[in-house]
Amino acid sequence: MRAAFTSHWRIFAALSGLLIVELLASLLLGNSAISLSHLPSLLAGGGEFDARLVLFQLRLPRAVVAMLVGSALAVAGTLLQGLSGNDLTSPATIGVEAGSGLGLMFLIVAMPLSAARHPLLAPLASILGALAIAAIVFSLAYRHGSILPARLLLVGIAVGYAVQAAMLLLSLRMNYVTYSYVLTWMSGSLSSADWTSAAMLAPALAIVGSMALSKTHVLNVMAIGDEAAAALGVAVHRQRLTMIGLAAVLTSLGAAVAGQIGFIGLVAPHLARRLAGDDYRVVLPLSAIAGAALLLLGDALGRQLVQDVEIPAGVFVGILGGCYFLYLLATTKN
């Protein structure tokens, strides 16, 4: 464990390299392509006005948001999988993501769409919704001074379905334009990403992310079971509660900006663990990079693959993740 980072530096370097290539591609490619040789001068503030506008106001903020959201969801998923000892846990399974959608729906029902799409109002409603549902899930899962992971998942899935039903009910009252906005949100899209959302995400992610990183050693100890961990001095239930809280905040931040894209929180930690083993001090940062790379790729594919139509990033994240799991199924024995 001591040589954790040094022995995994190749994997970190490879994934980071992939991320940089993806970043370049998503900055250069698009309806009006920018050539690589122009990039330095554009970044330095020179070049054509139109190209600068596309780069700085559209592609760069979008790519930055994609990476931030991807890593937030990946870190949330890593925490949840670690604290529940279950590889199939994800931000979607604790009901928080659905709660985020519900908050957004209430906002849209309460005021006209043009007002509701305010760059700060929508995220705020989404975060409040997520935290409200998280509070409901926690209190239902809380028994005898502790939250049992299995109970949390059951309650989370049940509440998640109830919330989805409520969202469907609310959507019945919507007109076509509003509904298609909601639909885009539900399929996970970065089309509304701008510098405002990046400025909201970056500091929040820095703070919550480093708190998550500080929990990785405890996650390592919790992997040997509640009883053995408690005997080593880990306050298991308190730690679990804190980590669920961190994961809920990260999930709602991501969902506020990019909608239902929690699948990343299932795939990225899986991939990181497969590449680097069980040490969460390595897995968590690696999973953050993998999540960023995955969402950036999903978004780039969604923008480029079909001419003139933008496919929500969530669709391609789903396809990529699905392929990864199929590959796992095909290659693992038993």
Binding site: G145, H217, N220, A223, G225, E227, A228, A230, G233, A235
Partner: protein, 261 residues
């Protein structure tokens, strides 16, 4: 190192498993709990190790209420090996043992030179040095048990609590574990508290024995005072002949039959 249970009631949900129990663990001795399945041995051990909060009564560690002391503070005085511990299959033996240093570590668990020294010592003492770089998933049940014991040793506590440390082990390995505990007690003055199912091994290796039945202590004291035909009938519902083994100078119980209803 003094560990005392005073009027302790331990319960799961709303079923009291142990009620109003009093028990003193003699310092620097080997104490063994015996009793039938479900009699509350593991529960009592959990209560003594701060893993279960008593519904009533207190557990005192060196005169201080254990549930009011910091978790880390208790973990530096007391280690506990659960009955059926689990770990990720990919975890290396050395990594498992390193987790034993958790109560002494700070942020992100960087290992100090002292940590490394204690880990090496624990590996050597438990005789699993050669397995240090093997993943747990590839070990036999007995080797795995020794690795877990090494983890408890790395915690370097004056008291070690073990729940059935000899299950899964063949006779030679059972003796290996028990002799190791005896040596730790003799040379390093560790207080050992354990649960064993083998009454004869308990009698042979313990200074003090506690017999439990349905959550209450039926007898406690020196092995020769606890292991009697009456007690075997009362606690285990069996008829037994008790002899004296000259080789080990301890009582020997030969079970004959189940007691008539």
């Amino acid at each position: 190192m003094e560990l005392v249970a005073h009027n302790v009631t331990l319960a799961y949900e709303d079923v009291n498993v142990v009620s109003g129990l009093n028990c003193v663990i003699p310092p620097r001795q080997i104490t063994t709990f015996i009793g039938p399945n479900g009699s509350g041995k593991s529960t009592l051990l959990r209560g003594l190790a701060r893993l279960m909060k008593p519904r009533a009564g207190v557990v005192l560690l060196d005169g201080k209420e254990i549930h009011r002391s910091g978790t880390g503070q208790v973990a530096r005085r007391l280690s506990m090996l659960p009955q059926r511990p689990t770990a990720p299959d990919g975890l290396l033996v050395r990594e498992l043992v390193a987790l034993g240093r958790f109560p002494y570590q700070g942020f992100l668990g960087a290992l100090t030179a002292e940590d490394d020294r204690q880990i090496d010592l624990a590996l050597r003492t438990a005789g699993v040095e050669a397995l240090a770089d093997r993943p747990l998933g590839e070990l036999s049940g007995g080797q795995r048990q020794l690795a877990w014991i090494a983890m408890a040793l790395a915690q370097n506590t004056p008291a070690i609590l073990l729940d059935e440390p000899t299950t899964f082990l063949d006779l030679a390995h059972q003796l290996e574990v028990l002799e190791l505990l005896e040596k730790l007690n003799r040379d390093a003055e560790r207080t050992i508290v354990m649960v064993l199912h083998d009454v004869n091994q308990a009698a042979r290796f313990s200074h003090h024995m506690v017999a439990l039945s349905r959550g209450t202590i039926v007898a406690s004291g020196k092995p020769e005072d606890v292991i009697t035909a009456d007690l075997m009938r009362q606690v285990f519902d069996i008829e037994a002949e008790i002899m004296h083994c000259a080789a080990t100078d301890s009582p020997l119980c030969v079970p004959l039959s189940r007691s008539p209803e």
